[in-house]
Amino acid sequence: MTTHVPSCASSIDNRFAPARMRRTVLEMAYAGSTVHIGCAFSIIELLTVLYRNHLRYPGNDPRAEGRDYLILSKGHGVMAQYACMHEMGWLNDSHIQGYFADGSDLKGLSDSRVPGLEVTSGSLGHGFSVGVGIAMGLQRKATDRKVYVIVGDGELNEGPIWEGTLVAAHHKIDNLMLIVDKNGFQAMGTTDDVLALGDLSAKFNSFGFETLEVDGHDEAAVDAAIRHLWTNGMGKPKALIAQTVKGKGVPFMESDNRWHYTRLNAQTFAEAIDALGLAEVAK
């Protein structure tokens, strides 16, 4: 199978500016009076790089036959993906402002029936297995299409993830990249306190993955790491361990697990928007 490395996207592509995407997330969370802001903020730069530089959607169609797959297995971060879909033009402002309105389509967790989302997740440990199957299917069809699966580090508690890693390595599924959003928190505390994960790179290496660690908020580093993984370790599935900060971008939310559960009020919404420092970003 040939390895596809996408050409570097234009640096003048102003879409997917992280601060503006965080603003979209805050607007949704405020409009819908909902939670999971911290989980969305930790994957903003990862999604920025994937959507801007890597994911291929022929005809800008979220359901295009020839697309790459981005599977958000940690469905709790779905507002970040909605923000990307807004940047892609797949969602309009009324989707954002009408989040959680009665009868609306965009749910609080990833749902496969929404064009642009690939799986129904949030029950954790599902998306990776589906991604393994999609990647295996693409390999059998001898395409160069790629599958990216974003899991939370807390999600790595789930057994099917490790079943899937065995299968992916055994079957040499090298068009598959597992991206771990290693923000160090899960619902009830830090991953170290709840169920320590140990050395993740060593774990994925020992499972037969080509593995890299990266600062998940450094766009250039993330981009380089993804390119490196696709061009190294022929025949091996890929794992990108992205060190991230839960709640990244709004100082009073960073590494404060209350923002897994806390809803915005008028004051915290305004403070959070201010904290984004959007002056340099076109609104």
Partner: protein, 314 residues
């Protein structure tokens, strides 16, 4: 019956290269033919059923036609959530094959027995549930499942109980009950599925009862159930499965709404197996041997009120 299953699978796979067989490291001799004729379409996914079902969903989304094989205790029961979220929610054409359903593994105990699989799968939206009784129904069910292009659970129970049909069934009508014996109108009619159809026919010979086989448990055609109720004075359902949520429940759901009829539900009475032994021993333990069933039906005929209860009173 197992040969019919294996042959149908090989024929389907030879005719359609998109057919894939995924197994959770089960089916040692059963798949010799498949591995010989279609080695590239055979995937042993390891002892990892949850991932296997999720993976099958991914393969189905890429246009493949996965048949996912495991013991019924694992596929579907262990993997109910993967079936619900990854397969059924997206209406994917995945065929789930649950082997050894009921008390087939009579000596191995509860971990390998499954008497809750129909109840689990019937409640999942869009998932069809099949339960063939003999080799002819098995072949028909395999083709039905393939043509459905939708999520299907095919329950494979005790396979050596003999034929209940005299020849191949040309086509299965969606939800159709198959009448396999005519009996008296002033007596109960028997509706059975899987392994219990043979038992029902043997009983009916003695008691002159009508018998219907139910190879398709979901969807169950209400009109067929009403016909059975019309042609008899009451109904008795027999299944190697819990009386909660299985064939008996499905029949009673129809009759209670469409055609109030007394329904005696014979099956596993909300309990696990106590002991181990031969298959025949275990049927006796659960009151599903022919003598016990005969007694229950006689009591039912002689009583004026329902003689069955969800929870075994003993």
């Amino acid at each position: 019956m197992r040969e019919a299953f294996s042959n149908a699978l090989v024929r389907l796979a030879l005719a359609d290269p998109k057919v894939l067989l995924l197994t959770g490291d089960h089916g040692y001799a059963l798949f010799d033919g498949f591995r010989k004729h279609c080695p590239d379409q055979y995937i042993n996914a390891g002892i990892a059923e949850q991932n296997m079902v999720g993976m099958a969903a991914g393969l189905a989304r890429m246009g493949f036609r996965p048949f996912v094989y495991g013991l019924a205790a694992f596929v579907p029961v262990r993997t109910v959530e993967q079936i619900k979220l990854d397969v059924a929610h997206d209406n994917l054409p995945v065929v789930l094959l649950g082997d050894g359903a009921g008390f087939v593994y009579s000596h191995l105990g509860t971990s390998h027995q499954s008497t809750e699989d129909i109840a689990c799968t019937r409640a999942i939206p869009g998932l069809q549930v099949l339960s063939p009784a003999d080799r002819f129904e098995m072949t028909a069910c395999m083709y039905y499942a393939y043509k459905a292009k939708a999520p299907v659970y095919l329950r494979m129970g005790k396979s050596d109980r003999g034929d209940v049909h005299s020849g191949s069934i040309e086509s299965l009508i969606s939800g159709g009950l198959l009448k396999v014996r005519n009996g008296r109108a002033d007596l109960p009619g028997l509706i059975a599925t899987g392994s219990m159809v043979r038992t029902a026919i043997d009983l009916a010979k003695v008691l002159e009862l009508s018998v219907w086989s139910a190879p398709i448990l979901k969807p169950l055609l209400p009109a067929d159930v009403c016909t059975a109720a019309n042609e008899t004075n009451s109904l008795v359902t027999i299944e190697e499965h819990s009386v909660l949520g299985g064939l008996g429940a499905a029949v009673a759901e129809v009759t209670s709404e469409k055609q109030p009829t007394r329904v005696l539900r014979l099956g596993v009475r909300d309990r696990f197996s106590e002991h181990c032994g031969t298959y025949d021993y275990l049927l006796r333990e659960h009151g599903l041997d022919i003598d016990s069933i005969y007694e229950r039906i006689m009591m039912f005929c002689n009583s004026t009120e329902s003689s069955t209860a969800a929870v075994d009173p003993r």
